[in-house]
């Protein structure tokens, strides 16, 4: 009896993909990890700056949220790296 192979997500083995697409897909988790590192600090600083302007608490919320953003960014980066290490 012929056993039907389960349908893979994406529907193909990906052999038709071009070199750029393969490289970008392989690099995507690393780009995402780096963005978390940078983005955490950016969101913390901008969010704190905006809240300071709104609540009139400057510069304290910007200082606090910057530190929180940097810490969360680092955590997100390390979390993503650990996950990628596990996958390998």
């Amino acid at each position: 009896m012929e056993v039907k192979e389960p349908r893979k997500p994406g529907g193909s083995d990906g052999s038709e993909l071009g070199e750029t697409a393969r490289q970008m897909r392989a690099a995507q988790p690393y780009i995402s990890a780096v963005w978390k590192l940078v983005g955490g600090a950016v969101v913390g600083v901008l969010g704190g700056y905006w809240l300071d302007g709104w609540l009139g608490t400057g510069p304290w919320l910007m200082v606090v949220l910057s530190l929180v953003g940097i810490c969360v960014g680092f955590y997100g980066f390390l979390h993503e790296m650990a996950r990628l290490g596990k996958r390998k």
């Binding site: 997500p9 529907g11 993909l17 697409a21 897909r25 392989a26 969101v43 969360v72 993503e80 996950r83």
Partner: protein, 336 residues
Amino acid sequence: MRKAMVLFASLFAATAWAAGSEDDVPGYILHHVVDSPYLEIEVPLGNPIKALEFPQWHVPLKANGCAPRMTEHGEEIPGLMDGCLDMSITKHTLMMWLAALLLMATLFIWGNRDKTKLVPRGAGANILEMLVLFVRDELAIKNIGKEEGPRYVPFLLTVFFFILFMNMLGMIPWMATATGNLAVTMALALCTFVITQVAGIRAAGLGGYLKHLTGGVAPWLWPIMIPVEVLGLFTKPFALTMRLFANMLAGHIVFFFLLGLIFLLGHPAVAAVSVPFAFAIFMLELFVAFVQAYVFAMLSALFIGMSVAMGHHHDDHGHDHPEAGPSHDQGKAHHA
């Protein structure tokens, strides 16, 4: 051929000479590359003629939002931030309409609507088929995949041909480059952005897509991580917007500046150098018109492909998925 080139170069020089004094060169360049509420016909060795003034349409978003106000530059209609939405037709709007009409006419004339005849006849139909197959085989399938790729071919074809026609219109005297306008490139990038997100939701499901936005971290970190991930979504359309806009605008500025050198240096002999250089830039711009249309469509396909692939390995964020997706293995296979 040589005579035609000399005639072409002379026309450039005459147009540049008609441009005016040396004081006005930056103003002249800016005037030609930015959008305006009228279409101007430049007559070599003559004065420009305002050929067509477009109707103005301002929509007030609040009471008296569009009432003219006195500013340091005189009486002005307020901008969007002050409650007035400017929906006026402009030179670039006209160019977009023209590009769309030309595109429809081209496809109507050369597109093969007779399904019994599979082989296109004539140069136009063959060129069109070559470009369509290139977008399908080299952009859609190679960046998105064999199964999902064909689904996005209509969008990629529309983007490719629309940008190409707008770029080419800008190379014709008296016309303008709509893709040298930030609003136009932003709207095009927004279309790619929406399609990319829809592709991601289709591949991962709404739950999987939203899970991606949490960055896979603990819920108490979401207030920081979700804005980071949402901000990250906009980096790709931002790159698309700026790339097309800057490339098209820069080419035209360089072209006009080379002609403007004749007036800035103040000697007609400069034309012997600047006109051939301007002609070379013009030729380069013709090439860039194709390259930028290709790059926009290629990057759109790449981003859609990445979104589809990301959706297929959403199990990374803690889901159990019995089957390994191709995107998992592609990276490993590639490194192996």
